[in-house]
């Protein structure tokens, strides 16, 4: 094998770690991914009734984005008896905007109007479920798992990105259970900086298109 080919092979096999994975380039797709402390990417998506919802609609409000897939066991647990059973609905009554976003591509697990309508009904979700079948919004936020959570402050700046809590499927990893989204919302409400602005998310992979 010649030297160039060897170099090419090295470049291919010495793969970048997950943290450095680039967003696939689609026409019009943003090149950089949302970062905590920076302006949250704009989006406009249809809800389950076909109504368009955009981030700009909620200027001046705290917004929570919940990456969603009704077929994912972590989502089923969280909405069934877990931490998302009431949190979204409760937060919306307290003036927070809560949006579920499903980036499952057409034909993939959790995709389609019917599955999402059934889940929203079953789990009594009072807030919109937005469909992002192209995955464009998911990629712009760097959403990799369900549930992957993002909190945007009233100035439109991303204040938290990461896991819902430290207890996948209710099993707290060392120490006491902590809900990072609840904590971030409390910090923002009190006018404090978010103490834990980013964590590592867990769960099913977002079912992006192949």
């Amino acid at each position: 094998m010649n030297r160039l080919a060897t170099l090419a092979l090295l470049a291919l096999t010495a793969l970048a770690p997950a943290a450095l994975a680039e967003t696939p380039t689609e026409p019009g797709a943003p090149k950089t991914v949302a970062k905590v402390g920076e302006r949250a990417p704009e989006f406009k998506l249809a809800d389950l009734n076909g109504q368009e919802v955009s981030l700009a609609d909620f200027a001046g409000k705290t917004v929570v984005l919940e990456w969603f897939n009704p077929g994912c066991p972590f989502v089923k647990y969280a909405h069934g008896d877990g931490p998302l059973k009431d949190l979204g609905n409760k937060s919306t009554t307290e003036g927070v905007v809560w949006l579920a976003i499903n980036s499952s591509a057409q034909g993939k697990e959790g995709a389609g109007l019917d599955a999402n309508k059934a889940a929203a009904t079953q789990w009594g979700m009072s807030y919109p479920v937005l469909l992002d079948e192209s995955g464009k919004v998911g990629h712009s936020y760097g959403a990799t798992s369900t549930p992957h959570m993002f909190v945007i402050d009233s100035k439109g700046v991303l204040a938290y990105a990461g896991a819902l809590d430290n207890a996948p499927m209710g099993k707290a990893e060392g120490g006491k259970p902590q809900n990072y989204v609840t904590a971030a919302l409390a910090d923002l409400k009190a006018g404090r900086a978010v103490a834990t602005p980013s964590t590592k998310s867990y769960g099913c992979s977002v079912k992006y298109a192949n």
Partner: protein, 263 residues
Amino acid sequence: MTALLLLTALAAEPDGDQLVRVTAEAQPLQGAQPFWVALRYQVEPGWHIYWENPGQSGLKTDAAITAPPGWTVGPLVYPTPERFDLPGGIVNYGYEGEVALLFQVTPPRGVKGRDAPQLGIETDWLVCREACLRGAATLALRVGIKRPGAPLSEALARLPVDLSSLPGATQGWQDRATWRATLPGVTAAQLFPSVDLESALAGLETSPDPRGLTISLSLDPAAIHPDADLRAVIRLEGPSVPEGVRVALPPPPGGSTPHDGGP
């Protein structure tokens, strides 16, 4: 016909408990000497389970071990993982096929044959293909003296070895944001960072070296907590190199920056 129906039912509704079969095996007990126990996971073809850092989604395969008083149980150790590239650029770290996770048990001093303990093992996993399913198993393993135990040499051989055991290897901080290792005899390397290392990682470069390969990690010092667990496993390729090496990075020179990055 019944069997066929049953198979169809299983195919339609896969179960996370059935996609992975777990068995436990221990090295023979020899007085108070520490011995290894292997948990073997046989994963259904096409599916994978996870390393201690699962990557951008997933969940680590975990096990809680209970032993009688006086018997101490070490941490779960993981063999060199593989990388799985999922649609949308999502990267997972884990295992397919058969994999053994191991832990070491140290008997109390003056242990007698009749003291041979029963270990309680509760393990759980996330198993994914396109979809993901949760699974769990509870096992009881009696560790005996007279019964011939499995030596577990194959499972132990799959654990990453310390980088310093690679002849001629060097490693260290170049400055407070760059850590570098030279890997003699290595033609390709793949980094598997711990969760804390991954969160501080800003760049990764490998370049050929006259003797092998150099791997350079750029880290964001502000993202390194004072008690950060900066570890990695590096999967190696080369004519006569181990499957993987493990590294534990000491805190960067000058320490972390307490003003930016939280607790």
